[in-house]
């Protein structure tokens, strides 16, 4: 089974037998993979109709939910991990959702497109246009991404909110980027993966 590269890395971070909440779980691929390979239990939250059906077909517990409406149906600290992949930049209140993740889970995991990646910078600085790429495929007027941020922005927010970053990995195109990890992640990393917990 071929899993999206960021999902594949995340699955390495999850301890077997954990309880997981996946915010914006899409077609349920990650949860299905974790259920099959790591004996994980939990739920996925998703808003899109077609994805709800796909999750059911994948055997994933999916709750149709608008993340912007909050997570009040869940009580505190009931999950080992709360995961949100490629969704942080598309919600109305990313900061509040980060706090919610740590209200519900021991650890949070997020992935997002790093807006400060050199290719984005180049398009804006030289071309004078809003960046578009594989990770940002939509033009400015139809993108769901309303709160794009950079690696530096995210880490700044974590510092302000008392969130302790446990692990960071940068992913380019298809694979884990060692260069991105070690050298100038904010410039060289296309996608950022973080694991964090309350300080």
């Amino acid at each position: 089974m071929s899993l999206r590269p960021d999902l594949s890395i995340i699955s390495e971070w999850i301890k077997p037998g954990s309880r997981v909440l996946d915010l914006g779980c899409g077609d349920g691929a990650l949860l299905k993979y974790l259920q099959e390979t790591r004996n994980v239990t939990g739920y996925g939250l998703e808003i899109d109709d077609a994805n709800i059906t796909r999750c059911i077909q994948a055997g994933v517990n999916v709750i149709q939910t608008d993340l912007d409406a909050g997570l009040q149906d869940f009580s505190g600290q009931s999950f080992d991990y709360v995961i949100m992949t490629q969704t942080l930049q598309a919600v109305r209140f990313p900061d509040r959702l980060l706090e919610e993740m740590l209200r519900l889970g021991n650890e949070g995991i997020v992935t997002f497109p790093n807006f400060a990646h050199w290719y984005n910078r180049l398009q804006l600085a030289v071309g004078g246009r809003m960046p578009m790429s594989r990770t940002l495929p939509n033009p400015w007027y139809s993108t769901p991404n309303i709160h794009l941020c950079t690696v530096n922005d995210f880490e700044q927010l974590c510092r302000e909110r008392g969130i302790h970053i446990l692990q960071r990995t940068m992913v380019n195109k298809e694979r884990h980027s060692k260069v991105g990890d070690n050298l100038l992640p904010n410039l060289l990393g296309r996608n950022a993966l973080y694991r964090f917990r309350r300080q």
Binding site: R19, T41, Y43, D49, I52, T53, C55, I56, Q57, G59, N61, V62, I63, Q64, T65, D73, F74, S75, S78
Partner: protein, 383 residues
Amino acid sequence: MPEVLPTDSVGLVSPQAMTFQQPLALESGATLAGYTLAYETYGELNAEHSNAILICHALSSNHHAAGFHSMEDRKPGWWDTCVGPGKPIDTNHFFVVCSNNLGGCHGSTGPASVNPATGKPYGRDFPDIVVKDWVHSQAQLADALGIECWAAVVGGSLGGMQALQWSIDYPQRLAHAVVIAAAPHLSTQNIAFNEVARTAIKSDPDFHDGDYYQHNVIPERGLRLARMLGHITYLSDDSMHAKFGRELQAGSPTTGFDMEFQVESYLRYQGSKFAGEFDANTYLLMTKTLDHFDPAKEYGNDLTRALKQAQTKFLVISFTSDWRFSPARSREIVRALLENNLDVVYAGIEADEGHDAFLMKIPQYLEVFSAYMQRIAAETAAS
């Protein structure tokens, strides 16, 4: 009336009846000496008896969920959109049972049945029934049919509440519960609507305090009003507007008291049809049953505690325009299930049709329902 039966229909079906001689102890403390349940079945029970689905009906429905009783029938059973070959409850895979609830008026023992103690119809003497009693009586039916564990208990509206009660009372006897357009208990507004309907029936001079059988009349005007009111609450403002708008009935004068909008004619038709086929005492009894449904009550009003013993997997579905049992009410159920770490899928379906949406051909609804039932079919095939 169908000239030929549609290929996705269960076809011609016959109602059956099962009579139980042993007395049924009711939650109220009363005992029913013996009773009959009318039911229909569709599809074939497999050798392992693992593919049985129980359908619980809504307030005023009955055991005729799918197919036709004769080629003269104008309409198929009430849930024909969802039950049949290739439909969400696929009769190619499942053995489907739908029974008329105790207290009903379509073949199961109810107020119009003869009380063996008096030789007369029970009338108002028919004992109070709660949803638990329905579940217990259905469990007897399951025993008689040789079904140890339902692959799923499924229902919409009151039927969904009954499925929820099944998961609490017989956690070992169902693998899945499908709870559609339901609520953990009625809202005050719901109870108020029911009381208006009951008052309409009771204030009909032909009601005779429930003894109208002796007078060879039925409280037809009351029943008509009750149904008209009910119908308004089952639809949404938008769906009524889309269906009838402000169009006048053909041939109606354009001024004066006799002027008639199409919606008026529709409600009158629905009211009269209902009055001709439904027993007034059953309506009183079943609305009371609905009003009193509240599984959390005996657990300190804590639904999470009420569902603690449930082991069932759940599919919960709501419809956006359902103001009688709104999506927020389904979310209350979902929340309690989540707090018990139960397996649950929840779909909030975008639909304009109001509460009645659960009976309609809404593509996303049918897709979600089908996908879930196929998962169950795969499990029962593997078991």
